[in-house]
């Protein structure tokens, strides 16, 4: 298995919104927008693909210990949230395609 860091995603069409921990390794993927499902099912080290972009995403990513949040469909992450993500050590990348497209790319990388 390849070691894929969050930072490496920048080469594959994902753009960095907040990357306080660029060396964090991605070990899996979880897709979901309902926060309690993500809390219950995402694994530590997963790249979490979602179209949710509000502040609560940060707490969920932090507590579920995901490697990064991938904001699919190009949903906007406000500057406030990006700033707060950096302070909390949470990686966020933006992706213009769908959650499916993002997952296919990650499947090929992992």
């Amino acid at each position: 298995m390849n070691k894929v860091t969050v930072e490496a995603l920048k080469e594959y069409g994902f753009s960095a919104v907040a990357l306080p921990e660029p060396e964090r390794e991605i070990t899996g993927v979880y897709i979901g927008d309902l926060l309690s499902w993500v809390m219950g099912r995402a694994k530590s080290g997963d790249a979490w693909i979602t179209i949710m972009s509000n502040i609560n995403v940060l707490a969920v990513a932090s507590l579920a210990d995901t490697a990064c949040v991938i904001a699919a469909e190009g949903v906007e992450i406000t500057e406030d949230i990006a700033k707060s993500a950096v302070e909390k050590g949470i990686n966020i990348l933006s992706f213009s395609g769908s959650a499916y497209d993002a997952a296919v790319l990650l499947y090929e990388l992992l």
Partner: protein
């Protein structure tokens, strides 16, 4: 660690933007104590779900986390509307959350089931019109 360590938090019921603050702080504290990542993850997820429930459903409350030699205990207490049917509330998918709350990503009806899943012990005491007390324990 022979003596119990206690952390106490007031959970603000009006502020969605800081919801989860107590859980994030507990995660930091447990990390400093050197607990295993898996224990920390279980405690902080269970606590987060309980904390969010107090914000969304009960207008806030109080959270207490006690660390002893063999477990982490989370106690959540609110003076909200109480839970009429606890068995029903514990079912996956049951939720009374408003559309407004759902648009933020809450309301899947998975919070209480997650709390049960991630802890070794969970007890809910609730009286309609009085409030809800929840005790959870994660063995170390």
């Amino acid at each position: 660690m022979s003596e119990a360590l206690k952390f106490r938090f007031d959970v603000d019921g009006n502020d969605f933007t800081s919801a989860g603050k107590a859980s994030v702080q507990v995660k930091k504290n447990l990390r400093q104590l050197g607990l295993s990542p898996e224990t920390i993850r279980r405690v902080s997820i269970a606590m987060y779900e309980g904390e969010i429930n107090m914000v969304i459903h009960a207008g806030g409350g109080v959270a207490e986390v006690t660390v002893t030699e063999d477990c982490v205990e989370i106690f959540l207490s609110d003076k909200g509307p109480g839970i009429k049917d606890i068995d029903q509330a514990m079912q996956e998918g049951f939720s009374t959350a408003s559309d407004n709350i759902r648009s933020l990503g809450f309301g899947a009806g998975m919070g209480l089931p997650n709390m049960k899943r991630y802890t070794d012990y969970m007890d809910i005491k609730s009286t309609v019109g009085v409030g809800t007390d929840i005790t959870m324990r994660v063995n170390i």
